[in-house]
Amino acid sequence: MTAVVETPVINPVEPFLRMDRMPHIWCPGCGIGTTVNCFARALIESKADPEKLAVVSGIGCTGRVAGYLHVDSFHTTHGRAIPFATGLKLANPSLQVVVYSGDGDLFAIGGNHLIHAARRNIDLKVICVNNFIYAMTGGQTAPTTPEPATTTTAPYGSYEPAFNLPYLTESAGATYVARWTTYHVRQLTRSIVEMLQKKGFCLIEVLSPCPTLYQRRNRLGDALETMKYYKERSKTRHGAPTSEVGLTMQGDIVVGKFVDRDRPDYLESMRRRLAEQLGDKFAGVGVLA
């Protein structure tokens, strides 16, 4: 039998990457690239219109994602991904705006923007890569660093309580909140597809290895060790109360979809209010709408 083996010309992620910028800067075993694979496959699965998509990142190792994606993307200043994204969304409401950034960028310097975007229910789809540390700047303590992990700014171990990101984001008003790890590639991909279909403020937290700083400094082995830890200690509990999903250092990890609810998003509330008050004088919102 003569078989013609049709090799697909390229890796399915490649159409979504700026290949001229490869190889990327991420370390061996860094989980950020794995999340990008899931994002690309979610875009394929959801048949998202690339012309209607914008990806916004802040600064950090994760912040580099915007610069590597071959879609309209915006590499903004540290902590300000959400304000830039909010501007994009309000000026052009027909855009699907994804924010892709690190835990430090989104919850430390950018934390106030995040809670207010969630409160206002701005239609933003946030992917937060949580590696428990400020990686790009050398491994300082982040609001997500679990006690008693060692960091460059906590040489004797951190003694600060860490934020529980799903709890915080739900409390602030998000309509969709999920958590996965870089081990859960299929679930993460599905979750991104689902999030892209939602309206309102959505967040997926993705736990991801930073072997160079977090794992090495805490003698937790290499990235593969961390992936095995994610596999062994993750428990899927869809709908788990977010108050119960806080993380501890190397403890059990509750993963799943925790929040999926509907409430009017910012633009809908604005339109309704202004139409009520202004009647015929209301000209619509969004410069490019």
């Binding site: 399915p12 992620v13 490869m22 370390c27 061996p28 075993g29 989980g31 694979n37 992936m227």
Partner: protein
């Protein structure tokens, strides 16, 4: 006859081992050879077991590997 195929771009690999560990049918192993950056890339040790599921592709942080399913017209085991 393999149900799927896997393509490895060895020069992109940084040797993390994710693809080897999480391939459901243990198609891959890290090679003892080095690529030009000094990493050990995976190679195919059980090509006929490849289902083309592309899990290796989804895991690979360096976009260095991917799998795809054979079409009915494809027969010969081809992996690597």
């Amino acid at each position: 006859m393999a149900k799927g195929f896997v393509c490895i771009q060895v020069e992109r690999c940084k040797g993390c081992g994710f693809c080897v560990e999480f391939c459901p049918t243990r198609v891959l192993a890290l090679s003892s050879a080095f690529n030009s950056k000094g990493y050990h890339p995976p190679h195919v040790v059980n090509g006929e077991k490849c289902s083309g599921c592309d899990l290796c592709g989804i895991y690979c942080p360096d976009f260095a590997i991917f799998g795809w399913k054979a079409r009915a017209s494809e027969g010969a085991a081809h992996a690597g």
